[in-house]
């Protein structure tokens, strides 16, 4: 297992956002998470990527614990261990969050050099390869403000991939984009899926989720209501809530 999350609980003040959620992701698996607004999808990703602290439950990457539970309270690993574990995952944000003062190439190259202490020439070669794959090799000297949203998001994907994560999380990677730009981003994610990149994707793009995923998870009210192969969940949902939700997306 690349990622194991067991019995994750998370509240904001009195609002229970994640109620005992468990999620495991195997190597090479592509998992889509769908669900209505406020169901806790982003919070789940933010807990997995250690941006948010859980109130209880376990998180493991490659079998190594980032967080365990002791007497009902979460216990996070030491800062140095967490630093190691962060290498296992990457995250692509809805709002890209590129560094505006860096060129495209520097956005992609800095973390591998600074954080992983990798050789500059090797990182440059890797970064250029990724930018080429994203169709952005001509933009490596541009600044983020000179790029379209779709281009910025592809840079953000290259930036995450350059650190060679075992698993990549996406939180609604196309929601901030104009409809005509979503296609180019979905295309590169699809390509990554074909290359067996392990991914967890929160999305509202149902046809995309259906086409690209090995497993689809439907979340509502802080719990996983239903999960299974895309054909099952989309073609023949068992739960009433799933049916109701998917009806909104029918053409």
């Amino acid at each position: 297992m690349i990622l194991e999350m067991n019995n994750i609980r998370k509240s904001f003040d009195s609002l229970e956002v994640l109620k005992d959620i468990s999620l495991s992701v195997d190597s090479g698996e592509v998992v889509s998470i769908i669900g209505p607004s406020g169901s806790g999808k982003s919070t789940l990703l933010r807990c997995a990527t250690l941006l948010e602290q859980v109130d209880g439950g376990e998180i493991r990457y490659l079998g190594r614990a980032a967080c365990t539970e002791e007497n009902g309270a979460p216990r996070y690993a030491s800062p140095s261990e967490l630093k190691e574990l962060r290498r296992a995952f990457g995250l692509v944000f809805q709002s890209f969050n590129l560094f505006p003062h860096y060129s495209v190439l520097k956005n992609v190259m800095e973390a591998p050099m600074l954080v992983q202490k990798r050789n500059k020439e090797e990182v440059r070669a890797t970064a250029m390869g990724l930018l080429e794959k994203m169709g952005l090799e001509s933009k490596c000297d541009a600044y983020p403000c000179q790029l379209s949203g779709g281009q910025q998001q592809r840079v953000a994907i290259a930036r995450a991939l350059c650190l060679k994560p075992e698993i990549l999380f996406f939180d609604e990677p196309t929601s901030a984009l104009d409809p005509e730009l979503t296609g180019e981003v979905l295309k590169v994610i699809k390509q990554l899926a074909e290359e067996n990149m392990t991914m967890v994707i929160v999305t509202h793009e149902m046809p995309f989720a259906r086409a690209v995923s090995d497993r689809v998870i439907f979340m509502d009210g802080g719990v996983i209501v239903e999960q299974g192969e895309p054909e099952e969940v989309f073609g023949n949902p068992r739960q009433e809530r799933t049916k109701q939700f998917l009806r909104n997306y029918e053409p």
């Binding site: 990527t49 990457g90 944000f93 969050n97 003062h101 954080v115 650190l163």
Partner: protein
């Protein structure tokens, strides 16, 4: 007294004014950063205390602060203050300007979106790397116009060293004007301040241009 003698006498004052200006910036720009970090400290007590300190510095006249820093050691501790004049002037200016810079820095830091911190965190940047490489450069660009304002105010504020009878350009102008019954020293001082501020504005505009490659 001929014009050229007047000018060369006042040149010493100009140098002293420049010394106050540059030494104040040298001290207050980094000190402001430290004060800003204390102000934003997670420790409530530290942050409150810093807030009170900033309020006092900003809420009292610089001229009064000059007197307090200069005479304070004598009245409070009975210390001999001989030779303390110039250091006291610098301390007063540095502390005063650092408080203003701290608040400008704070505004800049707080205007950076949380997404920048989160992206850096997920990429594995340490807290200090995030601040030095990601946050600070963006803050500098945003606060440059406010910093320019402070610089220009400081050029003129240096004249307050007059309060402690320090012979910078303003004190000298007043003195020479009285002894020579001449208006000329004031004109010279005025032209000096104007040119100094013009140079500051020009330099800062250059900095803004240099940082305009992104937005």
């Amino acid at each position: 007294m001929s014009f050229s003698t007047m000018l060369s006498t006042m040149a010493v004052g100009m140098l002293r004014t420049c010394a106050i200006f540059f030494l104040t910036l040298l001290g207050s720009l980094p000190l402001g950063l430290g004060i800003m970090l204390l102000r934003r400290s997670g420790n409530r007590f530290v942050s409150r205390l810093t807030q009170v300190f900033i309020a006092i510095i900003r809420g009292t006249p610089l001229m009064l602060q000059l007197l307090v820093w200069y005479f304070g050691p004598y009245y409070l501790f009975g210390v001999n203050i001989k030779g303390w004049r110039f250091p006291a002037i610098l301390v007063a200016f540095i502390v005063n300007y650092a408080a203003y810079f701290a608040e400008i820095y704070r505004g800049g830091v707080e205007s950076i979106s949380i997404g920048q911190y989160e992206a850096a965190q997920v990429l594995g940047y340490s807290r200090s790397q995030t601040f030095m490489k990601i946050i600070l450069p963006q803050v500098v660009k945003r606060i440059l116009p406010s910093i320019t304002n402070e610089f220009i105010t400081l050029v003129k504020d240096t004249s307050m060293a007059f309060t402690l009878a320090y012979q910078e350009i303003f004190s000298l102008a007043k003195q020479i004007s009285a002894s020579q019954t001449s208006f000329m020293p004031f004109v010279i001082a005025g032209v000096f301040y104007f040119i100094a501020n013009y140079a500051v504005a020009y330099a800062m505009e250059g900095c803004e241009k240099a940082l305009s490659y992104y937005n």
